[in-house]
């Protein structure tokens, strides 16, 4: 007789509130039901009551980890409606901040993942590295979480000292290559705990519409930086990372290798930073009538914005689709037939973000 086991909304295994109701037979999970909506803040409705500049601040608070990507995607949609041209230097700075954000988010995840595996010394090592990335972000923007770097038509702050940033980035690069990647790809503790568990087949990944590292670990070539290039990705050249073993181990390795690519992009962008202004001298406060969509690759996958303007200084409609909204339902496909004890690690492997999902 299968029994029901509710986990959450508040549970030590979860970083944020959501609920998984498991139906188990002995130690094996037969099915599960996922519920979200515990931290809904109606941000979409609130954006329709503020002007575009104040909205940039608001949408940055959708997520506490990938905050910059929300502001930049919102700005991209508005720039498309109003045909605002972004200077090349601003596009490069946006790319650098986006990649630094990816680096710190993937390191955060790698730390949490290591802790779920039970590898505490690895957790310490990774969180030290993450602090170094946060230091760079603080040096550039003055903030550690909500950077406030994005404005309509450009960025708010310039990068004045690329050399000091390059020095820290190469330090991060060295630790990634010497410590993080060898341990994630060769260490027995990690491999034994992650190989072959939480399988998400390619067909399931497609039908659930999963995005980001989760889809790329299941052999789906889904990367907005390559498919719909924005900011400076087309100029910098970009190599997507893809694996097809579909398990938790693949998701760890995809994220680890992506960090190397992020480091390369940051170094390349800093070395080739174009001269010029960082934003247009004047940006209209009232946006002409129209609608547009914008997509970006956040650390967890595709962020999608739809913005409609009625010609005033306040948007008529803002729709936000975050990557976790499509990734979280796929937990159901991953846990069937798995051991109960593996659930914390399987759900962590998609890097769920509930504040994003609920908005």
């Amino acid at each position: 007789m299968p029994y029901k086991l509710p986990l959450g909304p508040l549970h030590p295994a979860f970083e944020e509130p959501y609920k998984v109701t498991l139906s188990c037979k002995g130690e094996v999970i037969e099915d599960c039901q996922v519920e979200v909506g515990f931290v809904m803040r109606s941000i979409e409705l609130l954006t329709q009551r503020r002007n575009y500049i104040r909205d940039l601040v608001l949408v940055e608070h959708v997520c506490g980890i990938c905050s910059n990507v929300h502001a930049s995607t919102f700005a991209m949609a508005v720039e498309k409606i109003a045909s605002i041209e972004v200077p090349a230097r601003a596009l490069y700075i946006r790319t650098i901040v986006a990649e630094l954000e990816r680096l710190h988010s993937h390191l955060l995840w790698a730390g949490i993942g290591s802790e779920d595996i039970g590898y505490h010394s690895m957790f310490m090592e990774i969180y030290y590295l993450r602090e170094r990335v946060m230091d760079i972000l603080e040096a550039i923007s003055g903030n550690r979480v909500n950077y406030g770097m994005i404005t309509l038509g450009g960025v708010t702050r310039d990068i004045t000292d690329p050399k000091s940033i390059l020095a820290v980035v190469s330090e991060v690069h060295a630790v990634l290559e010497k410590v993080v990647i060898p341990i994630f790809t060769k260490d027995r503790t990690i491999i034994d705990r992650t190989k072959g568990i939480g399988i998400l087949t390619r067909a399931d990944a497609l039908s659930y519409g999963t995005v980001g590292p989760l889809a790329r670990a299941s052999g789906v070539p889904e990367d907005i930086r390559e498919n719909f290039p924005y900011a400076a990705y087309a100029e910098l050249g970009f190599k997507p990372v893809m694996l097809d073993s579909c398990d938790v181990a693949a998701r760890i390795v995809v994220r680890a290798l992506e960090m190397l690519e992020s480091v390369r992009l940051i170094e390349e962008a800093l070395k080739n930073l174009p001269a010029g202004s960082i934003r247009p001298s004047e940006v209209p406060l009232e946006i002409p009538k129209g609608e547009a969509t914008a997509r970006s690759e956040a650390p967890r996958g595709e962020v999608f914005y739809y913005v409609a303007s009625d010609g005033s200084d306040t948007p008529a409609r803002v729709k936000i689709r975050t990557p976790s909204f499509v990734n979280i339902p796929s937990i159901r496909a991953m846990v069937k037939g798995q051991y109960l004890a593996d659930l914390p690690l399987i759900q962590a492997s998609i890097d769920p973000c509930c504040s994003c999902t609920d908005r």
Partner: protein, 144 residues
């Protein structure tokens, strides 16, 4: 890809879809949504999301945003008496999206396999993003 566009032109009965900077846009007030879902699934397009937009006449516009490799397609349709057929049985990715639009804009997707509220708290009425509902909720709050 041209074949897909031609099939969509037949399906949406719109001869000249708009080509914009962010993809191809179709306007189709009446469309066979199930056939659309099957067609997109066959062409390996992913349902990015659906956007609900309140109309002044009490109905709701719903935009279906699809994307494939290097190509985005947006199809705008309108509800009839706040109802649309569900595509969640064909595309599992539509499941949560349709539940959310029902919570926020009170659009009923007929034939949805699991029509429970997704983000709506128990004390909130259905469609709590609609102007009328927001106003009455604000008045209630102020009276307290």
């Amino acid at each position: 890809m041209e074949e897909l566009i031609n099939q969509l032109i037949v399906l949406t009965k719109q001869k000249n879809p708009q080509e914009r900077i962010d993809g191809i846009w179709f306007e189709a007030p009446k469309i066979d949504l199930e056939a659309l879902a099957q067609l997109m699934l066959l062409n390996q397009f992913r349902l990015t999301t659906m956007t609900g937009i309140e109309r002044d006449d009490g109905e709701t516009d719903v935009i279906y945003h699809f994307n494939g490799i290097k190509m985005a397609i947006n199809i705008r349709t309108t509800t009839l008496q706040q109802k649309l057929p569900s595509i969640a049985n064909i595309l599992p990715s539509a499941n949560w999206i349709e539940r959310e639009i029902r919570d926020l804009y009170a659009v009923h997707f007929e034939g949805h396999p699991d029509p429970r509220p997704l983000v709506r708290p128990k004390e909130m009425p259905e469609g709590f993003f609609r102007k009328g509902v927001v106003e009455s909720l604000t008045k209630e709050q102020e009276a307290k």
